[in-house]
Amino acid sequence: MHEFNEPLITAWQLVAGADARLAGIVLLSLRVSLAATLIACVIGMPIGALLAVGRFPGRRTLIVLFNGLMGLPPVVVGLLVYLLLSRAGPLGQFGLLFSPEAMIIAQAILVTPIVAALTRQVVADSWSEYREQLRSLGASRGRAAATLLWDGRFSLSTAALAGFGRAIAEVGAVMIVGGNIDGVTRVMTTTIALETSKGDLPLALALGFILITVVLAINAVAYALRGWAERHWG
């Protein structure tokens, strides 16, 4: 058991000591992954809703595609974004590589299919319930999609959380496009990878515990909010 005691103590000391560098790393992780999740929701939720409600050729293919892309390997996304943002790449002139913005882009690409696929599921369920009423009121499919997104906002928080969980836990993409630069693009997962490289396994594990705690706390708050909202709105 002592393999786990030392990291726990280390984790506690890091948190209790209000380590400024640790705080910076945790905040950067949150900022990058929250921004990526937000972008993924803005793009993925309308796509998911239109896939659920729409009637257009290629819809089934797109559904299969988005379901499949849920399992995108982070390293591959990282590599693609790296090649795009590299000075020699098509978007090189913006100089975004090795910046938090690059990490946000990579994670947003990773998370969008997850949000879209889960949104499609939620919206498809309520579409079967609401369809006749909305059509009777004269809602176009686009309008119906928007209505169902708004109506399903509490259930959709689960889709957003699933995306956020994926973003904050991944290391492959942010390592490649962020470069793990100390104080600039070093986030929790890349720090854990670095400390593992240095053979400081207790510290790596301690950071892992902190990461898990942060993710759990965010999920708990979201769960409580959702419960309150559902009791309030039915």
């Binding site: 006749e132 009423q133 009777s136 004269g138 309008r143 109506d151 709105w233 039915g234």
Partner: protein
């Protein structure tokens, strides 16, 4: 009688089953109730008329296009206030926010729910939700209101209240086309009864005559089974 809808040779086949079989019908009464046993195709007929379903064959001929609204057996409430649910329907018809809100408030008052206007709609009782659905439909001032068993899942007190509102809507001039399992309700509301069985129109009779002397054996046995 002032014909507002002629139906000619209407059929609907789904998965090899004929749900509506060669229905021809002329509707002219202001209040028509469609009766028939379970699975006769009543709801399907209403949905074909409301353009929620497309017929396999046949045509609907409207001498003059009528604005329509429909109320379903189970009210569908959005996760927002009762008032916003009513406003939603108005906005879809192109009303501006202020006008939509005014009309919605009036409509809720007419169904006796102004005091619940700002409550979350989904937390209202089944009867109250159905009244919000009626308010939402009524606010649109439809020329034809279609109701599919609007009281089937309600307790007797709520049913009476819903029935009263349907009467008020009819009195305001809208045509009523509805189905119900409640024969007393049919008798109170209808001018004309359309009786259908296994997707076919069996008879169409003024209400008094239908309950006194049904024209067909099928309607006779239906009445015997349904009446206590």
């Amino acid at each position: 009688m002032n014909t507002w809808l002629s139906i000619d040779g209407l059929s609907l086949t789904e998965g090899g089953t004929r749900i509506i079989a060669d229905v021809s019908l002329t509707l002219g009464a202001q209040r028509t109730v469609v009766l028939g046993p379970n699975g006769a195709g009543k709801s399907t007929l209403l949905r074909l008329i409301h353009d929620l379903l497309h017929p396999s064959t046949g045509v609907l001929y409207w001498p003059r296009p009528l604005s329509q609204a429909m109320v379903f057996q189970r009210p569908v409430m959005l996760r927002t206030t009762a008032l916003t649910n009513v406003i939603y329907g108005l906005k879809l018809k192109g009303f501006k926010t202020g006008e939509a809100r005014r009309r919605a408030q009036e409509s809720l008052a007419r169904v006796g729910l102004e005091h619940l206007a700002l409550r979350p709609a989904r937390l209202l009782s089944g009867g109250e939700q159905q009244r919000v659905a009626l308010a939402r439909a009524w606010a649109l001032e439809p020329e034809l209101l279609i109701l599919d068993e609007p009281t089937a899942s309600l307790d007797p007190a709520s049913s009476r209240e819903v029935e009263r509102i349907i009467g008020d809507i009819a009195a305001s001039g809208a045509r009523i086309l509805m189905t119900t399992h409640n024969l007393g309700q049919a008798r109170r509301i209808a001018e004309d009864i359309v009786f259908i069985d296994r997707g076919r129109i069996v008879e169409q009779t003024p209400v008094a005559q239908f309950f006194k002397l049904p024209q067909t054996p099928a309607a006779q046995s239906f009445l015997q089974e349904e009446m206590p």
